[in-house]
């Protein structure tokens, strides 16, 4: 696993799943099992972190006159908060 690109939650979970299956087969030497176990602890920690990190930010994209996204200097699209609901929205 390279440090540069941390795995997604899904990848980490899949790797953890494989490790548990290997451990449960129990047909590798004890030293290998211990190494796998350590790797498993690392992956489950990663999974926990990914789940805890999630924050439900809500944004609304801005657009220019030609219907293109408005971007900042780095080319990232600009957003604004979603407008609060009004009474007349309730119908639709």
């Amino acid at each position: 696993m390279s440090e540069a690109t941390p795995p997604t939650f899904e990848q980490a979970l899949a790797q953890l799943e494989q490790i548990v299956q290997k451990l449960e087969r129990g047909d590798q030497p004890l030293e290998e099992s211990l190494r796998l176990y350590e790797e498993g602890v690392r992956l489950s920690r990663l999974c926990h972190r990914k789940l805890e990190e999630a924050e439900g930010k809500i944004e609304m994209l801005l657009k220019d006159g030609r219907g293109e996204p408005v971007r900042d200097a780095q080319g990232r699209p600009l957003t604004q908060p979603l407008p609060e609901p009004t009474d007349e929205d309730e119908g639709r």
Binding site: E10, E17, L23, L34, R45, L51, R92
Partner: protein, 495 residues
């Protein structure tokens, strides 16, 4: 799209048809417009009287007069027939002949009107046309200039739906093989819908109830003129957000006309072109739109879409902790097996005398067990927070504690076992000593060695125990500790 017909139209049409039959042959002498005076628009009509000199028209004059009459009398008429000889011109004008069993009528639909048609005209199609009659003076041809066409039978929208569905289906936009799987856990959810209203709120609320993932809304009108193009453009814009990996295109319930934008080609094409999977959620459960067919997944309602796209956080957490539990259980099991093997071998060592080799093996296991604990703890020291969490988890597994307890138990047990074995062996040796001693005591040879002798009768094996069993002159055999004797009885001394 269709305007309400004006109430008196029927009668007017009947009236007009009658007149039409008079007009079509364009008999110059026929009385035109018998009851309607047309002073403002019509050029001078031939006066009924006085008879003498009939008016002579130029062709142009006559055509112009006829045209004026036609156009003023047949301003807004509806006519039904079948399309024949359909032709399109470069700028988008459409020409055809409207026919029934007996007659035909040239029709033209100019580009401005033809671009508004929702469905596609086809040869032989039965239609109801609306427009006005006119006369094309340059060729002296009579024709109808249309403002709208509707298919008869199925409604225009239903026909348009079927036509687009067929065309896009043939172009491969609905192919099952193209449907992309949803991401396991979206990094960011894109929502294309109206920024106001209950739909966007419902999606956010339900998604966040399951998992607090980031959401970006690309706002767009979802009905009315230009809505289809606006939705398509909002879909393209949302791709600018690099980490959006699934998009919901949604609209609440409404009439067929309200939902119409989602049956238009620009929306279908934009969904098809989207680089991430698109989930459509338009209207109610029973509403199917073209967008639904192109989308990677069709959800019955916007709320259902939010549920389909986001997995519950609780379920994911449960999966991770379940795997943690299984991995430590598996490791504990393996350690216990190794331990048991070592223990068994150690128990035998009293007899097998392979002490050195076993101790090395036992120490190896101890090392590994130690490393399992210490190694993990060392890693966690990289961050205080992680260390705390991991220690908690380790404490939760109880792995290190269990290993220590086990190690101790094995040590005491093996010590106790060897002591026990030694003790047993000692006891056995002692018992054997006692046993041989008592066996020795029982041996007749030992008795003889103490000076006793055994007397047998004659040459036989019978041992004499009573003097009365023999008589003087009888022969005897005597067994001593070493060697024997033959003897004869001289006299008897009975007791």
């Amino acid at each position: 799209m269709s305007r309400k017909p004006q109430p008196p139209a029927r009668e007017a049409e009947k009236d007009q048809r009658e007149q039409l039959s008079l007009l079509v042959p364009l008999k110059p002498a026929a009385p035109l417009a018998p009851r309607a005076p047309e002073p403002a628009l019509a050029p001078p009509l031939p006066a009924p009287a006085p008879p003498p000199a009939p008016r002579i028209y130029s062709v142009t004059e006559l055509l112009r007069a006829a045209r004026a009459t036609l156009e003023s009398r047949f301003v807004d008429v509806r006519v039904e027939g079948e399309i024949s000889g359909l032709k399109r011109s470069g700028p988008g004008h459409i020409y055809f002949c409207l026919k029934d069993e007996e007659g035909q009528l040239d029709c033209v639909l100019f580009a401005r009107e033809s671009s508004r048609l929702k469905f596609e005209l086809k040869e032989g199609m039965a239609v109801r046309c609306r427009g006005r009659l006119t006369l094309y003076e340059a060729r002296g041809k009579f024709q109808m200039t249309l403002v709208d066409i509707e298919p008869t039978g199925a409604g225009a929208l239903a026909l348009a739906f079927e036509q687009l569905k067929q065309r896009l289906g043939a172009a491969g936009l609905f192919d099952a093989g193209r449907k992309r799987p949803q991401p396991f856990l979206p990094r960011r959810l894109g929502v294309v819908t109206s920024p106001q209203g209950a739909v966007v709120r419902d999606i956010i609320r339900i998604a966040h109830r399951r998992f607090p993932l980031p959401i970006v809304v690309s706002p767009t009108p979802v009905q009315g003129d230009g809505a289809a193009l606006a939705i398509a453009s909002a879909l393209r814009r949302i791709e600018a957000m690099a980490d959006v990996d699934v998009v919901i295109v949604a609209r609440g319930g409404g009439s067929l006309e309200d939902l119409w934008a989602f049956n238009e080609e620009p929306v279908a094409r934009a969904i098809f072109a989207c680089r991430v999977p698109v989930i459509s959620a338009v209207g109610h459960e029973t509403d199917f739109t073209i967008a639904d067919f192109v989308a990677d997944l069709r959800a019955a309602t916007p709320s259902a879409a939010a549920e389909r796209v986001v997995q519950a956080k609780d379920a994911l957490l449960a999966r991770v902790t379940g795997l943690e539990r299984r991995s430590s259980a598996a490791l504990r099991l393996q350690l216990a097996r190794v331990r048991a093997r070592v223990e068994a071998t150690r128990a035998h060592r009293v007899f097998a005398a392979e002490r050195g080799r076993l101790q090395v093996a036992a120490q190896h296991v101890d090392d590994l067990v130690h490393r399992a604990g210490a190694g993990l703890l060392r890693r966690t020291e990289r961050g205080r927070d992680h260390a705390r969490r991991l220690r908690e988890r380790l404490a939760g597994f109880g792995l290190d504690r269990q290993l220590a307890v086990r190690r101790e138990r094995v040590e005491t047990r093996s010590a106790r076992l060897s002591a026990l074995a030694r003790e047993q062996a000692e006891r056995r040796r002692a018992a054997l000593g006692r046993l041989t001693a008592s066996l020795d005591g029982l041996s007749p040879l030992a008795v003889l060695s103490r000076g006793y002798a055994v007397v047998f009768e004659g040459d036989g094996a019978r041992v004499l125990r009573d003097a009365a069993e023999t008589a003087p002159g009888a022969r005897l055999r005597i067994r001593l500790a070493r060697g024997g004797l033959r003897a004869t009885v001289e006299s008897r001394e009975d007791e």
